[in-house]
């Protein structure tokens, strides 16, 4: 503990030193250096992103397969959550395990508490460090304050580090310095749903801006459906409340400071990695500060943030309530320099320190934590006007720490944990060739690294807690290495004001990590029956996507896509049917997904319809006696959402959304069936 605090103090001193150095190196005169997304989008006529390389780029120039969802897309979707929007994006898998609980994956490998996805809000990583999962409803961001959601498919570890192996979802909110957003929205509907949010922006002179947002919902969850016994009793109705404040200050024409803070209190019924259902309470908070400076050495960015989450997990076992507590924390210090050398070369140097900790006597027998030092380099080379080559590499150095009381009889010692140290490189390379004004080819190759989560290393669940055997983490785990090769072809179809996008990809995951809940059964040297986390083999995936998106001046817009992914597991698990481990990606990924949508806007009216069909797949839940895993076949299904919007005045808009209007109940996972929802909304913009 003292060592960790000393490292944190050192990191803070380093940050302060770097901040002072950056300010001293600043040239004058200079200009605004943060990316003004709105101004650049207006200038170039398309969304702008920094999410692929760290360099501002037009979405069509980025060396990765990226989809950008705009605020207009979000508003017209009628969505109440971010996953509601994401389910209509090609290549994205969404599992709705309850009204307030969803897991999102990209190109398969999506299961309950999916750890393969990196999600950021304005660059702050927002995953829970216990399982590496995303609790979407606990994110401190309101839909009305989102400028765009960037969906980057495939590994992007060379920019973001460990865990960005399935893909990255980057949520960008409006900038309080450049954007003026004042909106209040109230929604209500079936399932006794009530939701409200307020977003307000204020400016202090011309040099500072503040954006505040708050919002939340309460509802009755979906009926438990096939859930029985303990799973049924453990589910409680969800509620959510989140606050966020975001400030930017233009200190000088060349130096900008920013700070943000958030707080949230959420109760959500979800599916947990063992295949059991329960209710979790999340009290989250974060604070961040940083500075960007346009210097003679490039754009220097420095930031530090801290995220905390107090998590209470409520399950029922044999009719007896089980309450588990965790305190999770992350400290991150990041520095980067983005510089354009001459006319053709852009370089980005990055340094990062990160310390994650999960303090849980219930789950880990104490405190399991890590400290990570990372260095990265990105080189973007405009070889010719039509060809750009980008290479990025990042090296992470991770050390594991454990303090607590390990489960007796497992054969593991504290020293086994405290000697874990690994160094892993991640790489991303891409070539973008604009063959003609209309045709773009993109070839990318990536090596991503999936670090075992803290509880995959350090879980200490005694026998009889979830099931008769013990579930124990394993300090000898190796990271999963994800190789991805992809070829994309985009064509602008000016005659029909559309863009055609295609992609084919191959992926291989080495050293697949199995949770203790899905690992091979064994006996510890003491004779203790136990499931240890393990590396269990490798998995391959091959897939393709084709989609078209467009709009015309008559007010119509449309989209259609088809995604295919075939995943094959080569692991020591599930050798004979039926499968007994959740590490069954081949069958737990829907192979075929078709998405289609059309919208129309005229005068004061907007009408939008989106539909998604996906093929069948296999999901899992524990049997009522908690003795084995129950495979559940999820049939292919079609879900469709429609929204009608009416602008009463320039400031007031009414909306009526029917989510899954085609079916009253739909089994999308092994959990409760998803119910039809009818939601009315009133938005007032000032």
């Amino acid at each position: 503990m003292q060592n960790t605090r000393a490292v944190q103090a050192a990191a803070l001193r380093l940050l302060l030193w770097l901040l002072c150095g950056a300010a001293a190196a600043t040239t004058t005169p200079a200009g605004a250096q943060s990316v003004d997304y709105g101004a650049l989008e207006q200038l170039f006529g398309e969304p702008v992103t920094t999410g692929v390389t760290g360099k501002p780029q037009r979405a069509t120039d980025a060396p990765a397969n990226i989809e950008i969802i705009t605020q207009d897309d979000i508003r017209r979707s009628g969505a109440t959550t971010i996953p509601d929007v994401l389910q209509f994006v090609a290549g994205v898998d969404v599992r709705r395990e309850g009204l307030g609980s969803t897991d999102v994956g990209i190109r398969g490998y999506n299961q309950a508490s999916n750890p393969h996805l990196m999600v950021l809000v304005n660059g702050r990583q927002v995953y829970m460090v216990d399982y590496g999962r995303i609790v979407w409803d606990a994110l401190p961001v309101q839909l009305d304050e989102i400028r765009q959601i960037e969906v980057i498919k495939g590994p992007n570890s060379a920019l973001y580090g460990f865990n960005a192996v399935g893909g990255v979802i980057n949520i960008i909110t409006y900038d309080p310095l450049h954007d003026n957003v004042n909106v209040a929205t109230v929604r209500g509907g079936t399932q006794d749903y009530l939701d409200g949010s307020v977003v307000g922006t204020g400016h202090i002179g011309d040099s500072a801006g503040v954006r505040l947002s708050a919002g939340g919902f309460r509802a009755d969850d979906f009926a438990p459906g096939p859930l029985t016994g303990d799973d049924r009793y453990a589910r409680q109705s969800p509620y959510s409340g989140n606050f966020n404040g975001d400030m930017r200050w233009q200190i000088t024409p060349s130096v900008e400071a920013f700070a943000d803070a958030s707080y949230g209190h959420n109760r959500l019924a979800d599916q947990e990695p063992p295949g059991v259902f329960g209710t979790e309470q999340f009290v989250t908070s974060s604070i961040r500060a940083g500075v960007n400076a346009d210097t003679r050495f490039g754009v220097v960015s420095l930031s530090a943030y801290r995220s905390d989450a107090r998590v209470g997990i409520d399950n029922v076992n044999d009719g007896v309530p089980i309450d588990v507590g965790e305190y999770q924390s992350s400290y991150v210090v990041q520095g980067s320099d983005l510089v354009k050398l001459g006319a053709d070369h852009t370089l980005r140097f990055g340094l990062e320190y990160r310390a994650d900790a999960d303090d849980s006597g219930d789950l880990a027998g104490g405190r399991i934590s890590n400290s990570i030092y990372a260095a990265s380099l990105m080189w973007d080379w405009q070889v010719t006007p039509a060809v750009t080559v980008t290479n990025a590499i990042r090296v992470d150095d991770m050390k594991l720490h454990y303090a607590g009381t390990l489960l007796p009889g497992t054969g593991l010692t504290t020293a086994d944990y405290n000697r874990v140290s690994l160094v892993e490189p991640s790489t991303n390379s891409g070539i973008v060739w604009k063959a003609t004004e209309a045709d773009t080819f993109r070839l990318t190759i990536a090596r991503g690294v999936q670090l075992p989560t803290l509880l995959q290393y350090g879980l200490q669940i005694p026998p009889g807690f979830y099931a008769p055997p013990a579930f124990v983490g394993n300090p000898d785990l190796h990271p999963s290495i994800v190789w991805n090769e992809e070829l994309d072809y985009d064509r602008s179809l000016a005659a029909i004001r559309s863009t055609l996008r295609t992609a084919v990809f191959l992926q291989r995951t080495d050293d697949v990590i199995a949770w203790p809940f899905g690992a091979p059964f064994s006996f510890a040297p003491s004779g203790l029956p136990v499931f240890f986390s393990a590396n269990v083999g490798y998995s391959t995936a091959a897939g393709a996507e084709i989609g078209i998106k467009g709009h015309n001046s008559a007010g119509f817009h449309w989209n259609a896509s088809y995604s295919f992914v075939s995943t094959t597991d080569h692991t020591v698990l599930n050798q004979t049917p039926p499968p007994t481990s959740i590490v069954e990606y081949g069958n737990s990924t829907p192979r075929n997904v078709v998405i289609g949508g059309i919208g129309y806007a005229r005068d004061k009216w907007e009408l939008d319809v989106q539909a998604r069909w996906q093929s069948s797949y296999l999901d899992f839940r524990m049997n009522p006696q908690r003795t084995y895993l129950l495979p559940i076949e999820i049939d292919n299904y079609l879900t469709a959402t429609a929204r009608v919007g009416y602008r009463v005045t320039d400031r007031v808009t009414l909306g009526l959304t029917a989510q899954q209007f085609n079916q009253s109940q739909l089994l999308e996972t092994a959990g409760p069936p998803v119910e039809r929802r009818i939601i009315g909304s009133v938005s007032v913009r000032m």
Partner: protein, 191 residues
């Protein structure tokens, strides 16, 4: 107006299908214009001008309100006609953030006597003499003629269709002391 198709062709990275038909259409339009059609279009379209206004906001420091020189080649009727058309596109002025740049026609031989921070080079106005005068003014030169920017006689070329493209001659920008915000530099093509 022969320069316009030529300049447009220079933006292409590869031939576009159907260009022969496009050439036929262009000839027909030229014939129509010769027979008394509407006034010739400016080398910078209204959309180009809009893009230019947005791009100038990324100058550092951003331009203050003042005059925007629209420079034509002295004694060249086509050049002056183009400058007049550009000035008409600009109307009362080009809005750059809170600043307004009011257009003023300037003959290429009179550049040294005028005060401005931004200039548009009309067709036929680009060339070494203009470059020297602009450098002396520490001003930004903008044109639709990519070849002129490639040759270094003007600093920034703008095209808005079919896709916004902005090309800046790095050496020319340095010579005239023009600087852009770093994020903007990373999103345009510099030569």
């Amino acid at each position: 107006m022969e320069w316009r198709p030529h300049a447009a062709a220079r933006w292409q990275t590869a031939p576009l299908p159907g260009r022969r038909r496009g050439g036929t259409v262009a000839l027909a339009l030229l014939a129509w214009a010769a027979l008394g059609g509407p006034a010739a279009a400016a080398s910078l379209s209204a959309r180009d001008v809009q893009v230019m206004g947005r791009a100038l906001a990324f100058l550092q420091p951003p331009p203050a309100s003042g005059e925007l020189a629209v420079i034509y080649a002295d004694g060249n009727a086509a050049s002056k006609q183009d400058a007049e058309a550009i000035a008409a596109e600009l109307g009362d002025g080009l809005h750059v953030g809170s600043a307004v740049l009011r257009p003023r026609l300037v003959a290429s031989t009179a550049v040294a006597m005028e005060g401005f921070a931004v200039a548009i080079a009309a067709t036929g106005a680009n060339g070494p003499p203009l470059r020297a005068a602009i450098d002396a003014k520490r001003a930004l030169c903008v044109t639709a003629d990519l070849a002129a920017v490639e040759a270094g006689s003007c600093t920034m070329a703008i095209r808005s269709e079919p896709r916004v493209e902005i090309v800046v001659n790095h050496a020319a920008a340095v010579a005239s002391g023009v600087e852009f915000v770093a994020a903007f530099r990373m999103m345009i093509r510099e030569i």
